[in-house]
Amino acid sequence: MKQTSHPIPLRFVNHGVRAKLVGIQSSQRISRRLSELGFVPGIELSVVADSGSALMIALGDTRMALEYPLAHALLVTVVEQGAC
């Protein structure tokens, strides 16, 4: 298992790569909304699809559409390089 210590924005994580959420860099209102939707530090997530303006994120059994600016605000560390 390859662990990178540098947090990077979720926006730059490739399809199918598992990542761990470490923090949210945004206004309090938006951080709160995201954490209510399940984006809490420590959770594992991965990118399922990219529409060209938003990402589809797998978050446990939930699938979330997230616009690019929000994907920039979520800081993650890569847990494991996926197959693709």
């Binding site: 699809a49 529409s51 699938r63 979330m64 559409a65 929000l70």
Partner: protein
């Protein structure tokens, strides 16, 4: 009775100790404050610590200075421990708890396997295939709402204008009230108004059927995800696309569909742009005018108009963002995508029925009332010495009012009372423009009445066989959805002399530039003030001010666009 609390085992859940201390203190304080007694005290304490703005404002307004001071002290102490992340800590604690309960109860593989949903999404939400797939789905929906619903619309129309009208007048004759203005009011005002409302029902039922199917299967959320990129052109995001799509069917349900949007800014902006989507009621007007003036290119002209509507909406969206909504930034686009599911017929039927019934209740009364007002205007003689309800159209108060409005349209090439009158009645429902044009140019006699009215039995039989034929036509139209055309193309015959009369009318009002005037009239019909049903929906959802913005703004935009088209067309020699 045993309550749930009695059955469920008690599972301890608590926030971290410093948070729990403050919650307990605040809850005790809130419990003693009568103004806040409506809320459970512990719940209220948790909400305000998480920063719920509405509740914080309420406490500041009604809680009293001691409560506000205690709350600020609590927040201060917690900030010292958690910084700005208090709310996240609290939400996190809840998720941890849920996670713990779930892991104890459910056994799952460490790495969740790729689900069928994800495999479907790999294709459906693909960066390049996503939009073509979406367009194909929408095409099927349009075919369903137009070709499949059309036979039923025709059937309802023939029932209302034939047997139903005859029965009403027979009934009035029986009670001795037939023949007079009252009969005319009931038949030409009320029954015609009911017919106008009913004409929407098959279209809406099939539209809502398709939408319920897409929503329940989970595709609608994917479409919002895929279309997010396109919606950004309008200054909106993916969630606004649904109302826009519904807008091609009818603006009224489209305006109600804005309710699913998160912020008021998005709801209003979407509501303002929806009427620019060329609704199905405008189609008959395009067909009539395009068949007369551009018989070889009717299809292209109609398609061009739909496209023009979208382009204008993009422009208006950009303008509105820079003028009306400068202070409100767009809300971020976050949307949960449910897994794909097989829809149930029961639920689809319930959605179709509830939404259509809501439209009939809300818009129905407005359409009915307006058609009675138009009947009155047509009944009141303004010139000549005709009696009430027996005046020719060109001498009615309606014609006088249309005449007064006509100069407004002179620079656009269609400043005759026939056109302005037709546009006026188009405010009831856009397709009424066709009926009015026929009525004012050709007169009532265009519809030939049978020499001897059919009997009650013949009428009833005709209604049933008509319904049978409509079902047959609808079934034959189904293969057409995927491009197989079984029914021979039939063209509605134009009323005798209507084409020449409209051509002559527009030629006179535009000094011989009838083609340019016709094109300007089409663009005007596309863009001008939405119908009363849409305005009623808009007022209901956004308030009077935004309804007026829509009413006046669209009139101005339509006037300007038609001016550009007519003057431009004249210059290039149309």
């Amino acid at each position: 009775m045993t309550t749930m609390a009695g059955l469920a085992p008690q599972i301890p859940f608590s926030y971290p100790a410093p948070v729990e201390r403050e919650i307990a203190q605040l809850a005790a304080l809130f419990a003693q404050t009568p103004a806040l007694a409506v809320y459970p005290a512990r719940w209220l304490a948790i909400q305000v610590l998480e920063g719920d703005e509405t509740l914080l404002a309420e406490i500041e307004a009604h809680g009293g200075s001691a409560v506000v001071a205690a709350l600020n002290d609590s927040l201060e102490r917690l900030r010292a421990v958690y910084g700005d992340e208090l709310d996240i800590v609290m939400v996190d604690q809840r998720y941890r708890f849920v996670h713990e309960v779930a892991t104890r109860a459910v056994t799952r593989p460490v790495t969740p396997p790729a689900t069928l949903s994800d495999q479907i999404d790999r294709i459906v939400t693909h960066r390049w295939f996503g939009i073509p797939i979406f367009l194909a789905v929408m095409w099927v929906v349009f075919k369903l709402t137009t070709d499949v619903a059309a036979p039923f619309v025709d059937w309802l129309d023939s029932v209302v204008s034939g047997p139903l009208s005859r029965w009403v007048s027979a009934l009035l004759g029986m009670v001795g009230a037939g023949g007079g203005w009252f009969e005319s009011l009931l038949i030409d005002g009320v029954v015609a108004g009911v017919g106008g409302v009913l004409a929407f029902v098959p279209v809406l039922l099939s539209l809502y059927f398709a939408l319920a199917l897409l929503e329940d299967s989970g595709y609608m959320a994917r479409a919002a995800f895929v279309m997010d990129r396109v919606m950004r052109l309008f200054g909106l995001h993916g969630k606004s696309f649904l109302p826009m799509i519904v807008g091609f069917g009818c603006s009224v349900p489209a305006i109600y569909a804005t309710r699913t949007l998160d912020s008021r800014r998005d709801r209003i902006l979407t509501g303002l742009l929806v009427p620019f989507m060329s609704c199905s009621a405008r189609l008959p007007v395009y067909v009539l005018i395009a068949m007369i003036f551009f018989p070889a290119y009717a299809g292209q002209v109609i398609f061009g108009l739909c496209l023009t509507g979208i382009v204008v909406a993009v422009g208006v969206g950009a303008l509105a963002r820079r003028t009306l909504f400068t202070r409100q930034p767009p809300t971020p686009f976050v949307l949960e995508l449910p897994p794909y599911r097989l829809p149930t017929l029961r639920h689809i039927w319930r959605q179709m029925w509830e939404r259509t019934a809501a439209f009939v209740r809300k818009a129905g009364t407005v359409i009915l009332a307006t058609s009675v007002v138009v009947w009155l205007l047509l009944a009141i003689p303004a010139r000549g010495d005709d009696q009430f309800a027996a005046t020719p159209v060109d001498q009615s108060a309606f014609a006088a009012l249309a005449q007064a409005g006509a100069p407004v349209f002179a620079p656009l090439g269609f400043g005759n009372w026939e056109s302005s009158g037709a546009l006026m009645t188009g405010l009831i429902a856009k397709e009424v423009v066709v009926g009015t044009l026929t009525q004012v140019y050709v007169g009532e006699d265009a519809v030939a009445e049978p020499a001897t009215p059919p009997s009650l039995g013949e009428d009833a039989a005709a209604i049933v066989t008509g319904l049978g034929a409509a079902i047959g036509d609808a079934l034959r139209a189904l293969p057409g959805i995927i491009g197989i055309n079984l029914s021979a193309a039939e063209e509605e015959p134009l009323a005798e002399g209507l084409a020449t009369a409209i051509q002559a009318g527009l030629a006179a009002s535009s000094n011989g530039h009838a083609t340019a005037a016709a094109l300007a009239l089409l663009v005007f019909v596309l863009l001008y003030t939405p119908c009363v049903a849409t305005l009623a929906a808009s007022r209901h959802e956004f308030g009077l001010r935004w309804m007026l913005t829509s009413l006046l703004g669209q009139f101005a935009i339509a006037w300007l666009a038609a001016l550009i088209v007519f003057q431009g067309g004249r210059m290039v020699g149309m």
